[in-house]
């Protein structure tokens, strides 16, 4: 690339007191190009975005140029402008309407900040903006009332609004983390359209498959360094995984365990998006649960656990009818549940790993005087930290300071420590890197060896084909199909979820 590229990043480093988060990162981005940035949690992806967005100040010596114009200012921070961002959580204000959210980033003329909005103009402008993405919805209701897909469109429309020229730079920071199949496609279409008009796109993602489909080039980061910068047509999946992980991560196909006795059986359970579901989980097996968003897949685990209100149906655990209304009823029957959103529901992020680990079951650690035996608790925390290969291996560290993969290992360990008979997992590997996934699968596997029966609900068909003995496919609130080991393929799962069998 000898001519001036759209975005040229040179020698970009960012040091924190205890860590060099970015180490001499250089890359180019041409107009019309989609560049995927991949890497494990803690590899420097987020730091890269935040530095480009001007949140972090780069170390001296860096250069970031847009069309040959230097963005790094004297003080070191990046001048805003020229780059457009869609952040991980879309960066929308839930309580404000579409119109108001679109307004947030609009540059008003000087002195115009206190002039009233022209309501009708605003409304028609908002409608026009979203109609570019072939969408039509009420732009005056709060964002919170929109579907995730509609919210994504608002975020895209906002990021691409007010461009002075078609070839600007759009940065998307893991925009698909909270999205499912079709919504992801919709987002990709919008991104491709922007690139076709000449925009340069930086797309940051965990999901390797989608990156290969979308991007022209892949930039892999590891420990803050660029370890690969290659065209997607030249790289294969396993080579990319090697580059990211720094070693070969193999996820072994699960060897079918022995078929034990039924441990949990449910008949006609309904609630949430589940209309009526029957299922049986046997001792020592891993049962997958697949389906589109809204198929009931996302609520079945919570329903069996009592976290989602159940309107009808019966649940037997270990052959005895149980009355599960609240999580504690399920916990009393040795049923454990790992919710999909670890920040919101999974763990107390500002308590330490040790305090989280023991929270679900404190009774074995209590002295006769009612106090906690802190020595025993510390010892147990160290044992578990070793077992789950916690990095860094300090159980007294606040959970929020760990990487996503390590947090998720702790969330799972909290449940495994209670030696559950039934383990219900909702998206157990969402938003974690390849190495952490392998470790999580190993932990899940070890639970079945101790006789637990496991149900894994996931949007990742590939994951289910790798780790499950059989998979239930949900559609429209019912269990529509069951695929056993011999018939378990990604294609069959997707076809089943769409009703194309």
């Amino acid at each position: 690339m000898d001519e001036v590229s759209l975005l040229a990043v040179r020698h970009l480093s960012k040091s924190f007191p205890d860590l060099r988060a970015l180490d001499d990162v250089s890359f180019d981005l041409a107009g019309g190009e989609i560049l995927a940035v991949v890497g494990q949690n803690g590899s420097g992806k987020s730091t890269l975005v935040k530095t480009l967005a001007g949140v972090h100040e780069p170390d001296p010596g860096a250069s970031v140029m847009v069309r040959g114009r230097e963005l790094v200012q004297g003080s070191g921070t990046l001048e805003p402008g020229g780059l457009h961002f869609i952040h991980q959580d879309l960066g929308l204000v839930a309580m404000l309407s579409t119109i108001e959210n679109l307004d947030l980033t609009r540059v008003q003329g000087r002195g115009r900040d206190f002039l009233p909005f022209r309501k009708r103009d605003e409304r028609s402008r908002a409608r026009t903006l979203i109609s570019r993405y072939s969408a039509e919805f009420d732009v005056e209701v709060p964002i919170a009332q929109l579907s995730p897909e509609q919210r994504t469109i608002v975020a895209i429309a906002r990021a691409m609004d007010g461009w002075r020229r078609p070839d600007e730079v759009l940065v998307l920071d893991e925009p698909t983390a909270a999205l499912e199949g079709e919504e992801v496609e919709r987002l990709f279409t919008a991104v491709r359209r922007a690139a076709e008009h000449g925009a340069g796109v930086i797309f940051i993602s965990h999901r390797l498959d989608e990156v290969m489909n979308l991007a022209h080039r892949v930039l892999a980061l590891r420990d803050g360094r660029v370890v690969a910068d290659v065209s997607t047509s030249e790289v294969d999946h396993s080579a990319l995984v090697r580059a990211i992980a720094g070693r070969e991560v193999t996820i072994h196909q699960r060897v079918k365990g022995r078929q034990g006795l039924p441990v949990l059986s449910a008949r006609g359970v309904s609630g949430g998006t589940v209309k009526s579901a029957d299922l049986t989980l046997r001792e020592g097996e891993i049962v997958g649960l697949y389906g589109l968003l809204g198929s009931g897949r996302e609520h079945l685990g919570g329903l069996l656990f009592g976290a989602v209100p159940r309107s009808s149906g019966e649940i037997d655990v270990a052959g005895r009818r149980v009355d599960i209304h609240e999580p504690k009823d399920a916990i009393a029957r040795s049923v454990a549940f790992v919710p999909s959103d670890r920040h919101r529901d999974g763990a107390v992020m500002d308590m330490s790993m040790r305090e989280n680990l023991t929270l679900p079951m404190l009774s074995p650690l209590v002295t006769r005087a009612g106090a906690l035996r802190s020595g025993a608790e510390r010892a147990e925390a160290r044992t578990w930290a070793e077992r789950i290969e916690l990095q860094p291996s300090n159980p007294d560290r606040q959970l929020q300071l760990f990487s996503g993969g390590n947090q998720q290992k702790v969330v799972l360990a909290m449940r495994l420590r209670t030696e559950p008979v039934v383990l219900l997992l909702d998206e157990p590997t969402q938003g974690v890197d390849v190495a952490a996934k392998a470790a999580l699968y190993k932990l899940i596997d070890s639970a079945t060896e101790q006789g637990a029966s496991v149900m894994v609900s996931s949007a990742d068909a590939r994951e289910l084909t790798l780790i499950c003995d059989r998979v239930l496919v949900m559609r429209d609130g019912y269990v529509a199909a069951e695929l056993d080991r011999e018939h378990l393929t990604e294609e069959a799962l997707v076809a089943g979820s769409l009703g194309l069998t």
Partner: protein
């Protein structure tokens, strides 16, 4: 870890010593001790030392007399009891804005029991404490069953209790409580009055429960993330009702002691306890535990503020100075804690305040920083 901090030791001579018997690298334990003794962790102690030195030089004749300190300990003990009472609901993520009104209603209630009710002292006090527990329980039920945000439920409860206070007392001071009741607050052991000892005992009990028992762990978990706590089997409704009820009982005890101190059931004293209590609990949360509401940080905060105010009064400052000092001190302490990288030390305050605004999520959707 509060248990590793020796509150009143000087800095340098402990720096190299390991504070924990466990097999840790000496460098790590040294770093831990240094961190425990850092200005950020125990700023209130350094501020106390600073204030002490300043006023010892400025007004040595009065500031350095035991009588001044004795009276400061006594008058502030009730504020400290209320602040400790607030630590429990705050740790569970709840505001109890009714705490001042709870003190007020208990103050006239015990006086009413003693005079109009003609009761002996012990049953009058026990009934008042029970009433405090009932008020807290009702508030808890409003939060749990009616699902009213604690900020609003306790604000409303506060108004109801003020009405109740005026109704019981007919908006008059209740006099003639008897000399033996009066002696409760004035009797002293080892140079300190009973309320001071009671406050310290209460501090030990609440500290033990919060820091050393499963109950305390569940309280902090509920305050930290109520969804996660519920999904790991913590009975969060019990935690909410329990902490508010306990807060009510402790506030009632402060009300009883207040009436004993002034030998009057005064219907107007309650609301004055609200702000100092919250100020101390907020300030306390920036001490020792790095962003967790905790008992010793809170008690320390009460007395550091009182030291400053007492010193200023002795130096002849005008009457409006104490309020100004308290307000500025709270702002400075929290701002200092927030300026720290990561701002975790002020985390407890941010979390409690956010909880009321976005009930669905611990992580509110942040506004965009898009650079368009």
């Amino acid at each position: 870890m509060i248990e590793q901090v020796q509150i009143d030791r000087p800095v340098e001579d402990r720096a190299g010593r390991s504070s924990e018997p466990a097999a840790r690298a000496p460098g790590e334990s040294r770093a831990r001790v240094l961190a425990a003794l850092s200005f950020r962790n125990i700023s209130a102690i350094y501020i106390f030392i600073g204030l002490f030195v300043i006023f010892s030089i400025w007004v040595p004749d009065t500031f350095l007399t035991w009588g001044v300190w004795r009276s400061m300990f006594a008058t502030q003990s009730l504020n400290a009891i209320v602040a400790v009472a607030l630590v429990l609901p705050l740790a569970a993520g709840l505001f109890d804005l009714a705490v001042g009104a709870e003190v007020g209603v208990a103050g006239v209630l015990v006086a009413w029991f003693l005079t109009k009710g003609g009761m002996p002292i012990v049953p009058a006090i026990v009934l008042t404490l029970i009433a405090g527990g009932v008020i807290g329980t009702v508030t808890g039920l409003l939060v749990v069953r009616a699902k009213i945000d604690s900020f609003i439920a306790t604000l409303a409860m506060s108004s109801v209790l003020l009405a109740l206070t005026d109704w019981i007392s007919s908006s008059q001071q209740i006099l003639g409580l008897g000399s033996s009741f009066q002696s409760i607050a004035t009797v002293s052991f080892l140079g300190l009055t009973l309320p001071v000892w009671f406050m310290l005992a209460l501090g030990v009990v609440v500290w033990y429960i919060l820091e050393r028992t499963p109950v305390g762990r569940r309280v902090y978990a509920t305050g930290g993330n109520i969804n996660a706590a519920r999904l790991t089997g913590v009975r969060t409704t019990r935690v909410i009702i329990g902490t508010l009820a306990a807060c009510g009982v402790m506030a009632a005890s402060a009300g009883v002691l207040q009436s004993s101190t002034i030998a009057t059931g005064d219907p107007t004293i309650g609301p004055g306890f609200l702000l100092p209590g919250f100020a101390a609990a907020f300030l306390g949360s920036t001490q020792f535990r790095g962003g967790r509401y905790n008992v010793w940080g809170t008690i320390l905060a009460v007395y550091v503020l009182a030291t400053g105010v007492t010193g200023l009064q002795l130096a002849g400052a005008p009457v409006w100075i104490p309020s100004l000092f308290n307000g500025v001190a709270l702002l400075l302490a929290v701002a200092l804690a927030k300026s720290e990288r990561g701002a975790r030390r002020a985390g407890a305050i941010r979390r409690t305040i956010w909880r009321g605004r976005s009930p669905s999520s611990e992580h509110p959707v942040p506004t965009s920083s898009a650079g368009a």
